[in-house]
Amino acid sequence: MNLDINTAKIIGFLLIIPFAVLMDGVRRKAVARMQNRVGPPIWQPFFDLIKLYQKKSSDSLAEKNVFFKIIPPLYLITTLALFVFIPLKVVSFKYDFLLLVYLLALESALFVLAAFASNSPFGVIASMRELTLMVCYETIFAIVILTLFIFNNITSLAGLTQSWQLIKLPIAAVCFFYVMLTETRTTPYDTVEASPEIMAGAESEFSGKGLMFLELAKMMKLTFFAMLSVALFFGYFNLLAFLSLTILIVLALGFWHATTCRYKVDQAFNKLIFVFIFALIEFIRIRFIVW
């Protein structure tokens, strides 16, 4: 394990939280402009979070459940822990691929647990959907990361120095994009929290601070995936280029959100199976055909 901590990095790490919230504001504004409306101000998510923080939590029966109470902060901490790898590289392990995949799986598992603890039939359905899709997208994510590691012959994300891998590994990039859509709950793969069908799943039971943690974690997940995709497939040139590329990815996700609608869970699963096969093809290809 290699710990590399200094003041600048800690400040940078803390600055990620407002940046993530701002990214969500940018996405909302961009989607609003694509839909030809004025939209909320960019700093609207800050107001939302502050308002949620001030609210009292509801008298839901699920409040008695211990899991229901501790999962939102845990979920947030797990999401925050993801940023350790990207982009500041505060901690780097010798084999950190496993930890990254594990953390993401843990996050999804926490969501499932929260949904079960929420004591709501819609929450149970949401967790079923999350489990169904998790089987696919976590595997794809693992394969894509493994492909990158084997292609670059590295064992840690810190060793990733090549840039413009988008051109070298195009299929892996596309597969990663699909994972990103599913993880950030963007259409057409936002079946887990389809609000007209299952009332946003487990989230409808949360309120007050718990909901605030969940919302913040969701915003940070969006930024994390945008940053991860930039780091993996574009490369880290300097901070400005990195952040602007992140904004571009967030805008692309917003565009996807604006121009598609939602799949049903079985259709989404079928589509993800295809993506899985393509990810496997890419994984096998890099061993034989390399350009």
């Binding site: 989607v31 819609f122 359905i125 299952i198 946003a200 598609t260 049903k264």
Partner: protein, 382 residues
């Protein structure tokens, strides 16, 4: 997985109005569905009683918020039939213009909500944008955006000026220019196809058996439309196509409604051309009616509206309002069986339900609901 029941309503985000729908699930599949209505019952028929005809017109109009003009038109048709008034041609033409604009606005609203249910919020926003231009037309020509109160007995409230005509044509053009975008999106987008095609299929035979009306029946290939079957106002002069589709699924209903917007725009254009220069008659100040009974039926955006009125001593003593959703809603549990949870909002929205105008009567005696046959009901309560 155990089978369990989930509540879809009374408060559920796939419904804009309250209705209790319980769905029994086996895994992801619906095995049974049943519903309970009556959350927005307003006792409207009771309010209608002992009102003069002029007052009752505005109460009848408030049956529905979206298709309010057709309800007042239905009332007018019933009362003018009783009084033997033949409104002049210009008045009829103005009524047809308003009714067709209302159909455009209602279908656009529905289109937006149907797209919102499957997660296509962009089309929802665009549909609302187009609907806004129709509402502006209403605000200018009738004086209100939703409850127009445009009809008067034997006349209408305002005449159209030449500026109004140009304004209507401009705004209609805006909607018409955007329709190809909707058609191309709906027919090309694969995700929309995956969600809508072969969902909620009801064939022509079943549609007739359930007695369905409006675009819901027309999506199954049933040729039913009061505008063609029993023309009223100035629909005899209008040249339009009765839109039917053969699919019978949610997608066919979507296409039917989108094509009906086109047809309505066509009718509005024809009617503006047919508009004469003569002034509209003054509305009757007071009406003394013979004791009579009469009915009217018109084609609302959702199907056939039926109003029945009995008048004694110039007062309405009984009103009976039958709205299209009341007929169409009966088919919902039948359609839901064997589908998945994701199909519930699609099927419900493809019906275009309007619970507020549908709910007419609840009979509660000794704390129990009473089930009545049609004849018994007529004998007891009419």
């Amino acid at each position: 997985m155990h089978d369990f029941t989930i509540p879809v309503g009374p408060q559920h985000s796939s419904m804009k109005e309250p209705m209790c729908l319980r769905v029994k699930l086996d895994g992801n599949t619906i095995t049974d569905a049943w519903m309970r209505l009556g959350y927005v019952h307003r006792g409207l028929e009771k309010i209608l009683e002992n009102k003069t005809v002029i007052k009752a017109l505005y109460i009848a109009e408030h049956t529905c918020g979206i298709c309010s003009f057709t309800h007042s038109l239905c009332f007018i048709r019933a009362v003018e039939g009783m009084l033997n008034i033949n409104a002049p041609k210009k008045v009829n033409v103005l009524r047809v213009i308003t009714a067709e604009l209302e159909r455009v606005h209602s279908h656009l609203l529905w289109f937006g909500f149907a797209m919102h249910e499957i997660g296509f919020d962009t089309l929802f926003q665009y549909a609302m944008r187009e609907r806004e231009s129709i509402l502006e037309v209403f605000e200018r020509i009738t004086g209100n955006r939703v409850h127009h109160s445009f009809n008067k007995i034997g006349s209408v409230r305002y005449d159209l000026t030449s500026g109004d005509k140009i304004f209507i044509l401009e705004k209609i053009k805006e909607v018409e220019n955007k329709l190809p975008l909707y058609f191309s999106t709906v027919t090309k987008n694969k995700v929309i196809h995956a969600r809508l095609i072969s969902v909620g299929i009801i064939n022509q035979f079943e549609a007739k058996k359930f007695g369905l009306v409006g675009p819901f029946a027309r999506g199954s290939g049933v040729k039913i439309d009061v505008r063609k079957d029993d023309p009223y106002a100035a629909y005899k002069e209008a040249d339009f196509e009765l839109v039917t589709e053969k699919g019978g699924d949610a997608f066919a209903r979507l296409i039917v409604r989108l094509r009906e917007i086109e047809e309505s725009i066509k009718i509005v254009k024809q009617m503006i051309k047919a508009l004469g220069d003569e002034p509209i008659p003054k509305p009757l100040p007071s009406i003394s009616l013979p004791n009579a009974e009469g009915y009217g039926r018109v084609e609302a955006p959702r199907g056939e509206n039926f109003h029945f009125y009995r008048i004694e001593n110039s007062l309405v003593t009984r009103g009976k309002i039958k709205t299209p959703t009341f007929i169409n809603i009966s088919v919902i549990p039948h359609l839901l069986k064997g589908k998945t949870i994701g199909d519930i909002p699609v099927i419900l929205s493809s019906l275009d339900p309007c619970f507020g105008c549908m709910e007419r009567i609840i009979v509660v005696k000794n704390g129990k609901e009473e089930v009545l046959k049609e004849d018994e009901f007529r004998y007891k309560y009419c």
